[in-house]
């Protein structure tokens, strides 16, 4: 646990963490040792000899003062280290997230990362501030007390010592037993969340089918399974808690009987017996709290494990000696890319001279978009290579690679800032005049005119205040402003109304002029003017050539073309 904590934090935090833990342990030992002074003192007090008790009382007071000082220092140190670590962990998390391949960011990651970043980190870090100190105290103080008992009265001490291995074994065993059940519960939890999301998103259809919750069994089943799993997880922790309580109480009972027996038989003095019993009850409470604290510790550990897994996800490898390509011709050399078991791109070879336009067409699921993603190194290829100007993209520094590529995506994400800020993202150093020029070229000025605050209008999170076509135009303006030698277009005109489509077309034409372009397109008329067309199917190039060549060949492209040109004829 501590090892994982240190790994997540990075090793330069090891020292303060170790110091805090040492301080907490010292506090717990000091507490245990201060109780040792109770034995002579109570002996004096219980026999009514207050004069003899006084020096011991002063000694005890000194010990308590020492304990209090240690405790205060340990608590503060826990807080302080926890807070420093919080900042450090956030930095590590942020830096790591920025270096992960874009391909890692599947849709489900949004929730996962935001949850981890907000509450997860805090919970993991609370180990130091809140959980560790009581845990150490609950384990170390009773051990010290047992040592004290052993020193004063070996038979009673031995009896107490018996509990140590049993308690340790139970703790260990509970941890294991609950782990499995907790994992299952977590799994069901995720499953149920997935079902809830589905249920919400399919409401219209579900209502159409008259499926209320009672009859939408998929959701109800998973809610019930979640309840069962959490019941199992509770039940799995129960034997541990019960076992712990049983052990502690059995030992307490044994000591009570033993001490009474010894004292009644006058084997030990009454004061001594009573003092040891007081010490024994002092052991019981912290030991019983071990169960609760253990649970908290396991919760923090689960978060810590998630952080650890994330931080150990390998980032996109950066070349040690980056090469800057000087040309911008493109080459896919026998590229294979797999997603899980599914081969998305299968030994694909394609070349494109600098300044030419390549159109990629094909049925949905053929791997067209993946091709663009591989070129921009969202993922790395499994085998083969992608080269820009003869240089493998993996040998180019990521920043340098991105500086050469402008991408217009199908789904445009805009940041919750003004339109101007969103365009400027293409080239932060651009002058206002350059930003305006790019916007005009993308026919964005007519959109901006309509907005209440013009250029300064915030677009809402994800750009929700603009329509799809308008967002697309912002994205084109961004790309125009960036002025990169390579342009990638992903189905940019597939979901536009005629007005937007015309505007977007004009912008795209300006964007493509004089650049090396790879475009994925469904609307075949945007394809027709490309220098080269590749028809993709199942991750392979099925046909390639110019529009006229492919039409003459009368193959799949020709069929596709004819299909899209035929209006639906009434039959």
């Amino acid at each position: 646990m501590i090892r994982m904590l240190l790994r997540v934090l990075g090793h330069h935090y090891a020292r303060p963490v170790r110091r805090t833990i040492a301080l907490m342990t010292a506090t717990a030992i000091a507490e245990g040792l201060s109780y040792a002074l109770l034995v002579p003192m109570l002996h004096a007090l219980l026999t009514g000899d207050t004069t003899a008790a006084r020096p011991w009382l002063i000694a005890f007071a000194t010990a308590v003062a020492a304990y209090a000082a240690l405790r205060y220092a340990a608590d503060l140190s826990g807080f302080r280290v926890g807070t420093t670590l919080l900042r450090g962990t956030y930095r590590r998390l942020g830096d790591h997230l920025a270096r992960l391949p874009i391909g890692w960011y599947a849709p489900g990651r949004v929730g996962e990362v935001s949850l981890l970043a907000s509450r997860g980190v805090l919970q993991a870090m609370s180990v130091l501030a809140h959980v560790l100190s009581p845990y150490i105290a609950a384990a170390v103080t009773p051990l010290t007390i047992v040592a004290v008992m052993l020193a004063y009265n070996p038979p009673l001490g031995l009896a107490a010592l018996l509990a140590v291995p049993v308690v340790a074994a139970i703790q260990h065993w509970t941890g294991r037993a609950t782990n499995a059940a907790d994992t299952e519960r977590h799994h069901r939890d995720q499953q149920a969340t997935g079902r809830v999301i589905e249920y919400l998103q399919t409401q219209p259809v579900l209502r159409a089918g008259g499926r209320t919750t009672e009859r939408f069994t998929l959701l109800d089943d998973s809610l019930r399974e979640l309840q069962h799993a959490s019941r199992r997880s509770t039940l799995s922790a129960l034997p541990g808690v019960l076992g712990l309580t049983l052990t502690v109480q059995a030992i307490l009972t044994a000591l009570l009987i033993l001490a009474t027996h010894l004292a009644l038989g006058a084997t030990i003095g009454p004061a001594e017996a009573l003092t040891l019993l007081v010490l024994a009850t002092r052991c019981a409470d912290p030991l019983l709290s071990l169960g609760d604290i253990g649970g908290q510790l396991r919760g923090a550990r689960a978060e810590l494990t998630k952080l650890d897994t994330l931080l150990r996800t390998p980032p996109l490898p950066e070349p040690p000696d980056p090469i800057e390509p000087t040309r911008h011709d493109l080459e896919f050399d026998s590229v294979t890319f797999r997603h899980g078991d599914h081969t998305v791109i299968d030994h694909l070879t394609l070349t494109l001279p600098e300044g030419h336009r390549l159109a990629v067409v094909g049925p949905s699921g053929a791997g067209k978009t993946t091709l663009l993603h591989l070129l921009a190194r969202f993922h790395d290829v499994n085998t083969g290579a992608i080269r820009i100007g003869g240089t493998d993209v993996r040998a180019i520094d990521t920043q340098a690679l991105m500086a050469r590529i402008a991408i217009v995506f199908q789904d445009v994400y805009l940041f919750d800032a003004t339109i101007e800020d969103n365009i400027r993202l293409g080239r932060p150093a651009a002058t206002t005049a350059e930003v305006r020029a790019a916007a005009t070229a993308a026919r964005l000025d007519e959109v901006i005119e309509r907005l209440p605050d013009g250029w300064a209008t915030p677009v809402g999170e994800g750009g929700t205040l603009l329509s799809g076509g308008e967002r697309q135009r912002v994205s084109i303006a961004r790309a125009l402003l960036k002025d990169a030698p390579i342009v990638l277009l992903d189905e940019v005109t597939s979901a536009l109304d005629p007005a937007n489509e015309a505007a977007v077309h004009q912008g795209i034409e300006r964007l493509m002029a004089g650049r090396t372009v790879v475009m994925v397109a469904h609307r075949l008329r945007t394809v027709r003017n490309a220098d080269h067309i590749a028809f993709l199917d199942g991750g392979r190039v099925a046909e390639e050539g110019t529009h006229d060549e492919l039409l003459r060949r009368g193959g799949r492209y020709a069929a596709y073309w004819n299909l899209s040109m035929t209006p639906a004829a009434p039959e």
Binding site: Y72, G194, Q203, V241, P363, F409, E501, H522, R525, A568
Partner: protein
């Protein structure tokens, strides 16, 4: 906390005018389990009080041993027996109580989730579409889980944290009131520190803390969602910086919060620590034995029970965070349950035919922003109406009023002469189906997905719909054909997903079909399939389509040009072209780009 929620209910209960009984709150949902809840509390308290027995037994044994003369063996052993019995009772009762608590917790959570799900199944779809699904899912999932300490832990723990010390206190008072007061000193010290934790400054810090936490979550979302754009434009620094600024602000806030709180918390913890309490008892004890005539044996109960007096303060500190979290979670749950469901008519009327008529329809999402102004439109059975217009003109909003995603703010929409609001939603959805954006498949078999709106459809009907939507062959190529469970691994593309949605709509075979071409026509195959399917199966069906393609517009019976929330032109495609107005201009701009 429990007190507060009880008061809360009684307040709500007095409002007899409230049409919906207060079943949404925590106490409302707990009411059916009141018996178990009482049992749980009783068991917990008895168990906790029984836990005092062994301590009293030690004290009693001590009294016997320290009494002058030979010790009374029988009395000592009776005390031991009583102590051991107490231990056993405590073991049994607290275990039983904790077991009941957790099982009850499971049931209550299930009830909560079912209730939330049922409620969300009745709120207007428009309300849902304006919310983030993730946030709502969080309420159903995480927030319900956060209520856990309310039910399983805290009430029992809180009650015992007060009952046990109270019992001890009374017992100790009967022995010696002076020493009892001295024993209370550490507790009083700790309580004196409490106001320091509640100062306005502290509370402000707590609020800052919450705000900063929220900002981290937001910036993380932006970081992840925008990562592709940001990386592609080499501006990775920007969001990265936003995220780091948010986390740094949070760390600062946290530090300020902790710095203010930590010394007080540490001082409080130290005052309540057992050695400190023992020191108080022993100091007082030494003084009183020496000069106050306290019998030495009477010191023992204080040593044993005195420590337990700190429990209430400790429990308050310990459970407080959980309680606050639980309280906030309950608030969010209550907010969702407070959303008015789509009003359902008490006695649903029946539509005569399925002609749709919009009369003077106005609509705005909020009072300031009117999207539709005075729409008058009749959609005759068996006709196709194409809605065209610039982006932002209200096309999507207009078609969303038909399946009652929202109700018009003014005017009315009637189906076969009956206002949509007077139809039951069952009948409404059996009349109107739609293919909009955000198509979502269920993690279920292909058959179940297609038959979603018509659960009892047979295999033949399902395959026919799939064939019409041109997805049948693709389904057969899936590992288990129509029985394949669809998930991310299935590898269906966007276009294929859309064709399944279209098969769904075709199978539903409703008299009215509303669709948005932008999402329905992902690629030429899908487009062709849908056109084909719609033409062949049109019959008496009313089709409303947000049209983007010229061929759709020319094929339509009626074209509606929507601009800035009003209908500016309306007629057959030929009429509108002849009018040579705005539609004609619109048409010409577009045809300029068209190769055909």
């Amino acid at each position: 906390m429990t007190d507060t929620s009880v008061t809360d209910t009684s307040v709500t209960d007095t409002r007899v005018t409230d049409p919906r009984p207060d079943t949404g709150t925590l106490t409302g949902l707990l009411r059916p389990h009141a018996g178990s809840f009482t049992a749980l509390l009783t068991l917990q308290v008895i168990g906790a009080v029984a836990g005092l027995a062994p301590l009293l037994a030690v004290a009693e044994v001590g009294r016997t041993l320290l009494a002058p003369g030979p010790p009374d063996h029988a009395h000592a052993w009776t005390a031991v027996l009583a102590g051991v019995t107490g231990l056993l009772i405590r073991l049994l009762f607290t275990t039983a109580s904790s077991g009941i608590g957790h099982l009850l917790d499971g049931q209550v959570q299930l009830a909560f989730r079912r209730r939330l799900a049922a409620h969300l199944g009745r709120v207007p779809i428009g309300w849902l579409s304006q919310r983030r699904t993730g946030e709502l899912a969080k309420v159903v999932g995480e927030d319900v889980s956060a209520v856990h300490p309310f039910i399983a832990h805290t009430p029992g723990e809180l009650v015992s944290a007060f009952v046990v010390p109270l019992a001890s206190l009374i017992y100790l008072f009967t022995i010696d009131w002076r020493l009892t007061l001295i024993t209370l000193i550490p507790v009083l010290l700790a309580i004196a520190l409490v106001p320091l934790m509640m100062t306005p400054a502290r509370q402000r810090e707590q609020r800052d803390f919450d705000t900063a936490m929220g900002r981290i979550a937001d910036s993380a979302v932006e970081f992840v969602q925008g990562i592709a754009v940001v990386k592609a434009f080499g501006g990775a620094d920007r969001t990265h910086r936003t995220f780091l600024t948010a986390t740094d602000t949070f760390a600062d806030t946290f530090l300020r919060w902790a710095r203010g709180l930590a010394p007080i918390a540490a001082a409080m913890q130290t005052a309540l620590a057992p050695p400190f309490v023992l020191l108080a008892v022993l100091t007082g004890g030494t003084l009183l034995i020496a000069d106050g005539g306290l019998p030495p044996a009477d010191l023992l109960p204080f040593l044993l029970l005195g420590l337990g007096l700190t429990a209430p303060v400790a429990a308050l500190g310990h459970g407080f965070d959980d309680l606050q979290t639980a309280w906030r979670a309950t608030g969010r749950i209550r907010d969702v349950l407070a959303v008015d469901p789509l009003p359902e008519p008490a006695r649903p009327a029946t539509a005569q035919g399925h002609r749709l008529h919009l009369r003077n329809v106005h609509f705005g999402y909020d009072t300031g922003r009117t999207v539709l102004r005075g729409i008058d439109l009749t959609l005759e059975p068996g006709t196709t109406t194409a809605i065209v217009g610039p982006s932002g003109s209200g096309k999507s909003t207009l078609v969303q009023l038909l399946p009652r995603f929202f109700d018009p703010t003014h005017g009315s929409i009637t189906l076969g002469g009956t206002d949509l609001r007077d139809l039951g939603s069952n009948q409404l959805y059996r009349t109107i189906s739609f293919v909009f954006q955000d198509i979502r498949l269920l993690r279920a078999s292909v058959t179940d997905n297609i038959a979603l709106a018509l659960p009892h459809a047979d295999h033949h009907q399902v395959t026919t719909a799939a064939r019409l939507a041109n997805i049948h062959d693709r389904i057969l190529r899936l590992p288990r054909g129509y029985d394949t469970i669809l998930d991310e691994e299935t590898g269906l593309s966007r276009g294929e997903t859309q064709r399944i949605a279209i098969a769904r709509a075709l199978l539903a075979d409703t008299p009215v079909l509303v669709l948005d071409e932008a999402t329905a026509f992902a690629d030429p195959h899908t487009e062709h399939a849908v056109r084909h399917a719609l033409t062949t199966s049109r019959g008496d069906r009313t089709i409303v389509v947000i049209a983007h393609r010229l061929e759709t517009i020319t094929d339509a019976d009626t074209v509606v040009l929507l601009e800035n929330g009003t209908i500016t032109e309306h007629g057959t495609p030929a009429e509108l072209l002849n009018q040579n107005g705005r539609f004609a201009a619109f048409w010409r701009t577009h045809r300029g780009d068209d190769p055909r």
